[in-house]
């Protein structure tokens, strides 16, 4: 049954969703924004689950990715689709600057990355010649029309971000299954013993950090070309850190699809319900969600649902 689940879900996502909501730009825009959060959430979970590192500064990679692609396409005329990859590369390069933080543990790493996010934000504000400073960048080039599909439209944007998220999750799943994944899992249990048997743990962590930054950067670049506008306070906003963390924790950051499902649930609930109920401070609910999940189900929602589903299947066989 599980073998058909993924292809079926993919078919539904690529065909059914655009058919059902394509005519409604508002709903489509919401889904794209939710998937944007989902992409960062996958990247965050990859670092948290495989690398064992909590980051409070993924906004840094998001911002660097979005500025890299936006500036390249505006100043040098790089096509936006190539800009996606370059944005990812930019964020991965930026992550090299953060790699000394890898020898830090727990809260030290988490807050060192936060410090980088602040520094990058201030640099983006001060480097007015390149980034336009606090005034921001207006009319960033939109995605082109390809094979008769207008990628600059809401539906086109949906197809792009969906592909980014699917590829990221697939990469995450592949790494988890590989020998690397096994080594990283062992490292999570006991790092010293893993190093003793010859696993280059620091290199592995560095690779996970770079990959996580790359994915976040691609998502950031996508967002820049999708909304066609950037300013430092927006590109490096703490929202790009808080929402993905809440999504990953809610969905289950130790699973591959948990963060994406978490992002869709949390973002849509937040925008459609909580924002209506409380215009100020609706992130309150996100905080409650984080605390509740850590206390009652630190593994996230996915394991609970999975267990229930498995139980039902077993009953059916019995």
């Amino acid at each position: 049954m599980k073998r058909f689940l993924v292809p079926a879900a993919l078919a539904a996502a690529y065909v059914a969703v655009p058919l059902a909501f394509g005519g409604n730009p508002y709903v489509m825009g919401l889904i794209v924004a939710a998937l944007t959060i989902g992409g960062i959430a996958v990247a965050w979970a990859l670092l948290g689950n495989l690398g064992g590192m909590v980051s409070f500064g993924h906004a840094a990679f998001f911002g660097v990715g979005s500025y890299t692609s936006a500036v390249l396409s505006m100043k040098l005329g790089v096509p936006p689709l190539a800009g996606l990859l370059l944005g990812g590369l930019g964020a991965a390069v930026a992550s090299i600057a953060t790699m000394p933080a890898l020898r830090l543990k727990g809260p030290y790493f988490a807050l060192a990355i936060l410090a980088y996010a602040h520094i990058f934000q201030i640099l983006a504000t001060e480097m007015t010649g390149v980034t336009g400073g606090a005034g921001g960048l207006l009319s960033i080039p939109r995605f082109p029309t390809l094979l008769g599909v207008d990628l600059g439209s809401k539906t086109g944007g949906y197809i792009i971000i969906l592909t980014i998220v699917v590829l990221s999750a697939a990469a995450y799943a592949a790494i988890r299954r590989s020998a690397w994944g096994l080594a990283l899992k062992a490292m999570h249990d006991t790092e010293i013993a893993t190093r003793v048997i010859g696993v280059p743990s620091t290199h592995l962590k560095a690779a996970m950090l770079a990959l996580s930054a790359f994915i976040t950067g691609v998502v950031g670049a996508f967002n820049a070309h999708f909304i066609n506008f950037l300013e430092p306070d927006y590109a490096f906003s703490g929202t790009w850190t808080v929402l993905p963390i809440a999504a990953a924790i809610f969905g289950g950051y130790r699973t591959v699809w948990g963060p994406v499902i978490g992002a869709l649930t949390i973002y849509l609930l937040d925008q459609l319900v909580f924002k209506e109920l409380m215009p100020h401070g609706h992130q309150f609910v996100l905080g409650m969600l984080l605390v509740g999940m850590i206390l009652f189900s630190p593994g996230g929602l996915a394991p609970i649902l999975g267990r229930r589903l498995e139980g039902r299947v077993r009953h059916a066989h019995a």
Binding site: Y108, L111, Y116, T125, H280, L289, V291, I294, L295
Partner: protein
């Protein structure tokens, strides 16, 4: 030029006084529980807003609001402790995310109740200027709370070194199992460290409300600042944290005076990264927790 520098240093030292109160609380809790309470700055924020509510609604002087703030902040700190102590697996990651979530809750609760406006005390007594040594200016509240904060921290220092409970806190942070064998009740001692941290946070909150301005995202800023200071000072001792706090205060105010106010936070962040990479055990050495 010289007088401008001196004035900047003076303001920095005064700011360091309340930074230190926040940082000592963070370090105390880290000492007993090995957890960085990311909601610590939000306790400071809560105290400041209690003072604001008491003043704006009941016309109460901010100093008279301290008892109320103590009760509310102490209860919140106890709640944070109660929730933290329920974590049993992956303690390091989960405690970080839990306190991060609690910080978001507190910040947004403040935002919902009091909106995003910037506030400060309306009592003129606090904001009258005081001249020290003929040339250095300060607000009265800055001086009052700097001196008060020093007295309070000296009290906590003495308590840690000379009372049985204070020694229990230090014992727990130096060797948990040995402390238990010596009859230290770890839970009670942990709660105690949280309550002392809440006491310091309350005073810092009132100090900020009377001498600076308050706004909902201040809590997060204070948490990060307190963490930077403890990294700088190495969580070693209260005098060490005080020196670290004064250094951060001075660097910030020099940056504001000579470079730009928008770079104020950057200076602290860069110093944080440099110290972290070059001297991970802090400027004053020793991988010790505060209370040793």
């Amino acid at each position: 030029m010289l007088s401008l520098t001196l004035q900047a240093l003076f303001s920095g030292v005064l700011a360091g006084g309340y930074y230190a109160m926040v940082a000592v609380g963070l370090a105390l809790v880290f000492g007993t529980m090995r957890i960085i309470n990311l909601a610590h700055g939000e306790l400071v924020l809560l105290a400041a807003y209690v003072a604001y509510a008491a003043e704006s609604q009941y016309g109460l002087n901010p100093v008279m609001a301290i008892p109320f703030a103590l009760v509310i902040v102490g209860a919140s700190a106890a709640l944070v402790y109660a929730l933290l102590s329920r974590i049993d697996q992956d303690r390091e990651i989960n405690s970080l995310i839990l306190t991060f979530g609690l910080g978001i809750i507190l910040t947004n609760a403040v935002l919902m109740i009091w909106a995003a406006d910037i506030h400060s005390t309306t009592a003129p007594w606090f904001q009258e200027s005081v001249v020290v040594a003929d040339t250095l200016f300060a607000m009265r509240s800055e001086v009052v709370f700097f001196v008060g904060g020093l007295v309070l921290m000296a009290g906590v220092h003495g308590w840690l070194n000379h009372s049985w409970q204070g020694r229990a806190v230090r014992a727990l942070s130096s060797n948990r199992n040995a402390a238990k064998l010596m009859g230290v009740n770890p839970r009670r001692t942990e709660i105690l460290s949280f309550l002392v941290a809440a006491l310091l946070a309350t005073f810092a909150g009132i100090a900020i409300y009377t001498g600076k301005t308050i706004f909902p995202s201040l809590g997060h800023v204070m948490t990060v600042k307190a963490f930077i200071i403890t990294v700088l000072a190495g969580m070693g001792s209260i005098p060490g944290v005080l020196i670290g706090a004064v250094m951060i205060g001075c660097i910030e105010s020099l940056t504001v005076t000579y470079v730009s106010a928008s770079l104020q936070e950057l200076a602290g962040m860069i110093l944080f990264l440099v110290v972290l990479f070059v001297m991970p055990s802090g400027l004053f050495g020793g991988r010790k927790a505060i209370a040793r």
